[in-house]
Subunit: 301 residues, 2 copies
């Protein structure tokens, strides 16, 4: 048996709150994984690289890594070399791919985390068989990707899909990106945590699942903002399907039912057009790392 | 000389206020044209067809029409058969193509008017040589089209690009589409006319060009709304170029300079990404009918 056939491909999802990494099979299954906290945004980018490298070393202790794919919560350039900007991390024109390849000694692929989520869902998950898919990831902020004819649309410079930074409230809440009124300030994990004075958005999700009425209400309110924004994105993109992933999507229908209702209430031309289904990511919170690994494997040829 | 080489191809742009029609050459020049008022939205669709048919008959009096292309201010289905919905006209699931072919006796092509504008600008105008272009038409309302790899992106059901009906103000101004706070309620010809208590948006543009201070201010305010919305669309699409057409684009830099300033002020990740240029449509108000004719000619084979 050759070395190639015994090596592994590792996917890493670097979000604003957690770094998830896993060994992923060619058919998109995660066979082992690790999770760590993302270093705070005021830390040097090297500290984030340390975290990624530690996760990769741990996952490649038994079988060597052939390639590593990284889905990063930031604006990644067309070539996949540089993270130009990240609202929730310290990356500013950061040459992440070169830095990681030097450290890890294997080919590294870098893409936006919502792009890798969309890739995974369209190849192995809720988007299979659909050509025009809108993918939203609800984590620390909101990530997004538009799938056009089965492939992630990257825009002119690789930075398309930053739906979370569309303005939905003029002069609204201050956003980590530097603007005001960004959509993610009304729906994301950060937004929920702030509204509930909780530590994380997931704490609110857990409280709601345990039946805590105020937490259920907060999810319904976030869901209404989600659905209203989705209605705007349907006006823009006319997708056949909307897939919602990211950590917050673990809220399930507590979030998605109010979102579906608000989407239908606000869809322009409603009654005269098909209404897109809103589905949770079939691969759950692993979608981002699965897509990152799949992209890295594809680049191996 | 064959009949084919002596016939003409006619493009028709059916907007919320005017119907523009013209004979268009293969290289996108308009050699003759007519303009009429669009019948009011409470009129039966047949009255709009009468207007289109009258314009086509007038333009084909000397040389027969080989094909007619229609750019329609409405949500046109993927097959180009039906206008599913129009905020500013009476079309509701209207089989426009079949109705016009029966009347005119020539092949008719129907597409959304902003889509035909984008086609014309990318083939003959400001978008030549660019692959990812965002096109906005400012007329009675706001139309839009996203050009992906040189072709208009239609979405799953043909209805993508309705940027004018994205919500920019929660609970904001009532829109003709039935929603509230739609972008076009803050930028379009209708919005300007309402703000100035004028008959049309173009009257405000003319007053501003004549130096009327209050009209200049209204255009600056509309321009700021335009630029803020464009910043959101840049977050979503990351275009290399933005082309602004439609009747209101005749305001030129009185509208576009405030828009450019607001775009740069609100662009997420600014300073760490290329900033797209905002250009007026090179083909002016004729772009919509030129693209419609060009599409009809292409379908002739």
């Amino acid at each position: 048996m050759s070395l190639v056939s015994t090596g592994v491909v590792i996917g890493v999802d670097v979000g604003g709150t957690n770094v998830l990494a896993g060994v992923v099979t060619p058919d998109g299954r995660v066979v082992s994984s690790v999770q760590q906290q993302t270093p705070h945004r005021n830390k040097h980018p090297r500290v984030v690289e340390d975290t990624i490298a530690r996760a990769v070393r741990e996952l490649s202790a038994e079988r060597p890594a052939l390639a590593v794919g990284v889905g990063a919560a930031g604006f990644v350039d067309t070539s996949g070399s540089t993270v130009a900007f990240s609202p929730h991390l310290s990356w500013r024109n950061e040459p992440l791919r070169a830095a990681l390849e030097t450290r890890l000694g294997v080919p590294v692929t870098v893409d936006n985390d919502a792009n890798t989520t969309a890739r995974a869902e369209c190849r192995f998950g809720a988007g299979v068989g659909h050509a025009q898919v809108l993918c939203i990831t609800l984590g620390t902020g909101i990530g997004g990707a538009l799938v056009v004819d089965g492939a992630v649309f990257r825009g002119a410079h690789g930075m398309a899909g930053e739906f979370g930074h569309m303005q939905v409230v003029p002069g609204g809440r201050v956003c980590e990106c530097g603007n005001r009124g960004c959509w993610e300030q009304y729906v994301s994990g950060n937004a929920l945590a702030r509204a509930a004075a909780a530590t994380t958005g997931l704490a609110v999700v857990e409280a709601a699942r345990a039946g805590e009425a105020s937490a259920v209400e907060l999810l319904a309110e976030a869901g209404a903002w989600l659905g209203t924004g989705l209605a705007s994105l349907c006006a823009a993109f006319d997708p056949e399907l909307i897939v919602v992933g990211g950590g917050l999507s673990q809220a399930g229908d507590l979030l998605l039912d109010p979102a579906r209702a608000a989407l239908l209430r606000n869809l322009t031309g409603r009654g005269y057009r098909p209404e897109p289904a809103v589905l949770p990511a079939a691969l759950g919170v692993d979608a981002g790392l699965i897509g990152a690994a799949d992209l890295a494997r594809a680049r191996l040829g």
